[in-house]
Amino acid sequence: MKNIITFIILLSTLFLQSCRKDELIYLSDSSTVTIPQPENNIKGFYLLNEGNMGMNSATIDKFDYQMGVYTRDVYSENNPNIVKELGDVGNDIKIYGSKVYATINVSNLVEVFDLHSGKHIKAIHVPNCRYLAFKEGKAYVSSYSGKVAIDPNAEIGFVAEIDTLSLEVIRKVEVGHQPEEMVIHNNKLYVANSGGYRVPAYDTTVSVVDLNNFTLLKNIEVAINLHRMRKDMDGDIYVSSRGDYGKTPSSLYIIDSQADTVKQHLKIPISNMTINEDKLYFFGTPYTHDAGQGKVNYGILNTKTKEIISTHLIQDGTEKNILIPYGLAVNPETKEIFITDAQDYVGTGYIYCFTPNGQLKWRTLGGNIPAHFAFIY
C-alpha cells in the first residue's frame, strides 16, 4: 500500500513537472565574486549584455564593490511590469547624472532608468540606435536609420540630440553611412562612419558636427569601416578601422582635433579600446576571410608618445581561457582591467576582472554576449 502511495505521488509529481506553469518574470541571480571594497569611490558598474537578434535577450547586470557581489539580469526584476523586458540587442550603456541610458538597437529605443533604484523612467524612440555620448545636459545617439533610398542600404545615418531633463529628441543631424561611436571635444561631435551595410563600398569618413547649430562641419577622410572612437587628455581622437576582413587589416588612426585632420596611422588591429589617463588599452581579434580567426593581440599604448608600452593586458596566462575578448573597460580609480568573453556569441559569456598588473582577480558568468560597461560613482 505504501508503495502504491509513493508511486502515485511520484507519478503525479512527474505529471506536474511535465505541465506548464505560470510564466514567471526573469529573476536576477547573484554571485559573490570578490572581497568587499566599501572604501571605493566607484561603487560598481552596470554591464549590458547584447543578446542575440530576435531573442529579445538584452540584459543588464550590476557589480557592487560594497559587497563584492555580481548580480545578473537586474532590469527585469526591477521593472516587472515592462512588457518584453529590456528588449532586443543592446548596443551601448552610459551613465549621465542620476540616469542610466542604454541603446537597444533592434527595439528602436534608448532605455532610461534610475541609477540607484534601477526603475524604468522612459524609453525614447530612436530607430536602429547604436552608441551614446553626453555633453551639457544633452545626450547624443548615433543611428543607422536614414531616409529610404532607391538602392537598399544607401541611406545616410544620423545623430539625434536628446535633452536629458525632458528626455525628448530635440534635434537631428545627418552624418555618414551607418555611424558608430562618437567623441565630443571643443563643442564638436566626431562620428565614426562605418558603411557596414554597404560592403564593399564602406564609408571612410569621420563626420564633424558643430554642437551649437547642430550642423555638419566637415567629413574627415580616414579609412574604411570605422568603428571605435576615444579621445585622450590632450584632445587627440583615436578612431579604429575594422578593415575589410581581407586585404585591408584593422588599424588605428589618430585625428588632430585642432586641424581636424588625420595625423597618424598606427598599424595595430583594434576590436576594442579604452583610454585611462595617458594609457590606451586595446585588443584586436584579427579575422580574415582566408585565414579565419587569428591570434588575439592585447596591448597598451602611451597616448603621449603614441608608442606601445606593453603587448599584454593579461600577465598570468588567463587569456588562453578567453575565447573571444569583446568588452573592455578600466576602472579609473582602481585601474582594474575588465574584459568580457563573448564565447561563440551565442551562449552565456564571462566577465573577467584583472589587477592593473594583469593578474586575474575574479571571473563570473554574465549574460548573452556581455559587452558594455558603465561605472557607477
Binding site: D88, A123, Y287
Partner: protein, 686 residues
C-alpha cells in the same frame, strides 16, 4: 452541431480516456493510425500516414502531419505561411531527404525544404524511413540521406465502370482562410490515366496571441495580447500527373507548379511605442517552383528490372526587406535592407538496375547524375556573386539477402562532386564513400516478433550559401558527416475474433553522431559571420509506438501512442576552445515528447482526437539555464467528419478544432503559435 457544454463533456471524456490508457500502456489496448507498414520486404518498420487517417488529422500541411511521427522535430514559425522545417533524430534539417514521388526535392542554395508549403490535399501518403527505404531497387540519391521522408501524391483509382473522378473542396477557418481546390482524374485507356489538381490559398494569417508573466507572489507582472502581423499568404498550386502500365512495367510523369507571395513575420520582440504605431513592415518572400519529373520501370526479362528517372526543377525566390518607421516626422529605414532574387536550376537523371541472383539473394546498381546552378540578382550589393554550379555523380551498389528468419541489406554509395564558380574561391571537388547495413531477425517461429538493427553513414555537402554567401560563406568547408546506429524490435498480435483486432508495439533505440557540423557564428563585427566545421552533436534516443485497432459492432476504434526520450549533447567547440554551453542539450530539443491519436468511426461519422506533447527544452541561446528555458507545450485537437450520400455524389463535411485548451505557446522562441482555432472543410465528389 454540438453545444458548448456537450463539447466540454466530450473533451473531458477524451482526456480521461487518454490518461487512463497511457497508464495501462504496457498491458494492452490501443491502435494504428500511424501504420508501421509491414510489407514483406520491410526490414525495419516504418512510420506511415495515409489515406483517410491523413485526411482526418487536423493537419494543413505535410509538416503538421509529421508531428505525429516519433523522432521528428518540427521547427514551426507559426501560421499557414510560416516556415516549417523538419529534423529527424536531431541530426539537422539538412540530413533529411524529402522525396516527392520518389525524387528528392532539393534546395542547393540553403538546403532547407519548407514542408509547410506542401498541402495535404493531393497527398496519398507520407512515410518516414530512419536510415533508408528497405529496398535495394532505388536511385543512388535515395541512399544518400540519414533519414528519408517520402511524400507520394495521389494516384488515380477508378471504381467499376467509372472513368472520371472529380472532387471539389473548400476550406475556411477562424484564422482567415480561403482555400478552394479541385482534382479531376481521367482514365484514357485501360492502362493510361491522368490527373489534374489545383489549389488556391489566401489568408491574412492574422491571429491573436498572449504573453503573460507573473511575479513571485503570483500577481500578474504583465499581460499583453497582440496580433500576428505581416503573416499574409497567397499561394497557387497546379499539378498534372500521367500514369501508365505496360505488360512488363509502369511509367509515371508529373508536372508541378507553385506560385506564392507571403509576408515574413518577424520575431515578437520589444519595440518602442512609436515603432509599434508607425512602422511599415515590408519584409516579403516570393516563390515560384516548377518541377517536371518522370520515371519508367521495366522488366525486360525475368529476374531483371531497371528504372529510369529524370527531373528538372526551376526555383525562383525573391526576398525583400525594407522595413520603415517614422522618426522626427520622417519615414526612415529600420534595419538592414535587401532586395535579392535567386534562380536555381536542378537537372537530375538516374538509372537503377536490379537483378535476382537466386531466390533469396539479389543485387542492385544505380547511377545518378545531377547538375545544380544558382544565379542571383541583388540590388545595392556590390560584392560579386559567385554564380556556383555543382555537378554530382552518385553511384551505389547494393545487395540484399532473405533467409526467412534472417534478412539483410547493405549498400555502398559513392558521391563525387565538381564545383565551378564565376567569382570568388570555389569549393574543392569531393569524393565520398558511405556504407550502410540493415539486418532483421525473427528469433521465434511466430512472425509477430522481430528484432532489427541498422548502421548508416552519410555525408551532406555544404550548401551554396554555406560556401559562397556574401561575407559569410567559406569555400573550404568540409561536408558534414553522420553515423547512426539503430536497434529495435516490434511485436504485434492479430485476433480477428476478438474486439481488439490487433495491437502492436514498436521500440527503437538509436545513437547518432553528427561531426564536422557546419555552424555560422558571428565574428567581433556584426557584419561579418564565419562558417566553421566545428559543430558536433551526439544523440541517444528511445522511440516507442503503441497502436491498437478494435471493433465494437459498428464502431471502430483506432489508437496510436508515441513517446520519445532524447539526449542530444552539443559538443561543438570554437577555434579557441570549449564554450560554456559545451555538453548541454541542443536548442529546441525536448528530452520528452509524445503524441496520441484516437479515432472513432461509426457508420458515416468519424471523430478524431489528437494530442501532441513537447516537453521542457531550451532556446537558441544554447545554455541550459533558467533564462533560456521554454515551457512544455501540448495541444489537443479534435475533428468531426460526416459523409453524406446525395444522389450519385458523396459529400464530406468536417469541423476541426485546434488547440482546444487555447494554450499560448511558442515552438520557436518569440514566434507565437495560434491559440484555439477552427477549420471547416467541405468536399464533394462529383
Amino acid at each position: 452541431m454540438l453545444s458548448k457544454p456537450q463539447i466540454q463533456v466530450l473533451i473531458i471524456f477524451l482526456i480521461h480516456c487518454l490518461s487512463v490508457h497511457s497508464q495501462e500502456i504496457k498491458t494492452d489496448e490501443l491502435e494504428t493510425i500511424i501504420i508501421e507498414a509491414n510489407q514483406r520486404e520491410q526490414l525495419i518498420p516504418v512510420q506511415k500516414l495515409s489515406g483517410k487517417d491523413l485526411e482526418r488529422l487536423n493537419s494543413h500541411s505535410v509538416a503538421d502531419a509529421l508531428r505525429y511521427f516519433s523522432g521528428v522535430k518540427i521547427k514551426d514559425y507559426g501560421g499557414i505561411g510560416g516556415l516549417k522545417t523538419v529534423d529527424v533524430r536531431n541530426m539537422g534539417t539538412h540530413h533529411v531527404g524529402v522525396m516527392y514521388n520518389g525524387m528528392q526535392i532539393g534546395n542547393a542554395q540553403n538546403g532547407v525544404v519548407d514542408l509547410g508549403k506542401f498541402s495535404l490535399d493531393d497527398v496519398e501518403s507520407i512515410t518516414l524511413y530512419n536510415g533508408e527505404r528497405n529496398t535495394i531497387f532505388q536511385s543512388a540519391k535515395e541512399f544518400a540521406s540519414a533519414s528519408n521522408i517520402y511524400i507520394n501524391a495521389k494516384k488515380p483509382h477508378f471504381d467499376k465502370e467509372k472513368k472520371t473522378n472529380a472532387i471539389v473542396r473548400f476550406k475556411t477557418a477562424s484564422i482567415q482562410l480561403f482555400n478552394p481546390s479541385f482534382r479531376v482524374e481521367q482514365q484514357l485507356t485501360p492502362n493510361i490515366s491522368t490527373s489534374l489538381s489545383s489549389e488556391y490559398i489566401k489568408s491574412n494569417g492574422r491571429y491573436k496571441f498572449r504573453q503573460k508573466k507573473h511575479n513571485l507572489d503570483g500577481t500578474v507582472a504583465y499581460d499583453t495580447t497582440a496580433y500576428r502581423t505581416n503573416s499574409d499568404i497567397e499561394a497557387w498550386r497546379i499539378e498534372n500527373g500521367w500514369f501508365g502500365e505496360t505488360p512488363k512495367g509502369k511509367w509515371e510523369a508529373n508536372l508541378y507548379f507553385y506560385n506564392s507571395e507571403r509576408g515574413l513575420p518577424e520575431a515578437f520582440i520589444k519595440k518602442s511605442q512609436e515603432t509599434m504605431e508607425t512602422e511599415q513592415k515590408l519584409e516579403r518572400l516570393w516563390d515560384k517552383n516548377f518541377l517536371a519529373q518522370s520515371s519508367w520501370t521495366h522488366s525486360p526479362f525475368d529476374k531483371y528490372r531497371f528504372q529510369i528517372k529524370g527531373k528538372f526543377a526551376y526555383d525562383y525566390t525573391r526576398y525583400l526587406a525594407r522595413n520603415t518607421v517614422v522618426f522626427d516626422d520622417e519615414l526612415v529605414t529600420q534595419n538592414l535592407q535587401a532586395d535579392n532574387s535567386f534562380f536555381q536550376q536542378d537537372y537530375y537523371l538516374s538509372i537503377a538496375h536490379h537483378y535476382d541472383i537466386t531466390n533469396n539473394w539479389d543485387v542492385a546498381v544505380a547511377t545518378d547524375l545531377q547538375y545544380n546552378k544558382l544565379n542571383a540578382s541583388r540590388k545595392g550589393i556590390q560584392t560579386p556573386f559567385s554564380y556556383p554550379e555543382r555537378l554530382s555523380f552518385l553511384t551505389s551498389i547494393a545487395s540484399s539477402v532473405n533467409f526467412g528468419k534472417f534478412k539483410a541489406q547493405a549498400h555502398i554509395l559513392g558521391t563525387f562532386t565538381k564545383e565551378n564558380v564565376k567569382n570568388n574561391q570555389k569549393a574543392p571537388d569531393r569524393s565520398l564513400f558511405t556504407p550502410s547495413l540493415v539486418i532483421s531477425f525473427q528469433p521465434f517461429n511466430q512472425k509477430n516478433f522481430t528484432i532489427h538493427s541498422f548502421y548508416k553513414n552519410t555525408y551532406r555537402l555544404p550548401t551554396f550559401n554555406d560556401l559562397y554567401y556574401t561575407n559569410l560563406g567559406d569555400a573550404n568547408l568540409k561536408p558534414e558527416s553522420t553515423n547512426q546506429i539503430n536497434l529495435g524490435f516490434q511485436y504485434q498480435t492479430q485476433n480477428e475474433d476478438a474486439w481488439l483486432k490487433t495491437w502492436k508495439i514498436k521500440v527503437e533505440s538509436y545513437y547518432a553522431k553528427v561531426e564536422n557540423k557546419i555552424i555560422a557564428t558571428p565574428t567581433s563585427s556584426m557584419f561579418r559571420w564565419m562558417m566553421t566545421n566545428l559543430g558536433k552533436v551526439e544523440n541517444y534516443g528511445l522511440e516507442t509506438n503503441f497502436s491498437t485497432h478494435s471493433k465494437f459492432g459498428k464502431l471502430f476504434l483506432n489508437t496510436n501512442f508515441s513517446y520519445e526520450y532524447t539526449i542530444a549533447s552539443d559538443l561543438s567547440t570554437t577555434s579557441s576552445g570549449k564554450t560554456t554551453s559545451y555538453g548541454d542539450q541542443i536548442p529546441y530539443t525536448p528530452w520528452h515528447s509524445g503524441s496520441a491519436i484516437i479515432s472513432l468511426d461509426y457508420e458515416k461519422w468519424s471523430l478524431n482526437y489528437s494530442f501532441i506533447y513537447v516537453g521542457k527544452r531550451y532556446n537558441g541561446n544554447k545554455n541550459n539555464i533558467k533564462r533560456n528555458e521554454i515551457q512544455p507545450w501540448y495541444t489537443h485537437d479534435l475533428s468531426l467528419n460526416r459523409t453524406i450520400n446525395w444522389k450519385k455524389h458523396t459529400l464530406k463535411a468536417s469541423i476541426e478544432a485546434n488547440n482546444l485548451l487555447n494554450q499560448y505557446y511558442d515552438v520557436v522562441t518569440n514566434f507565437p503559435m495560434p491559440g484555439r482555432n477552427f477549420r471547416f472543410i467541405l468536399s464533394i465528389e462529383l
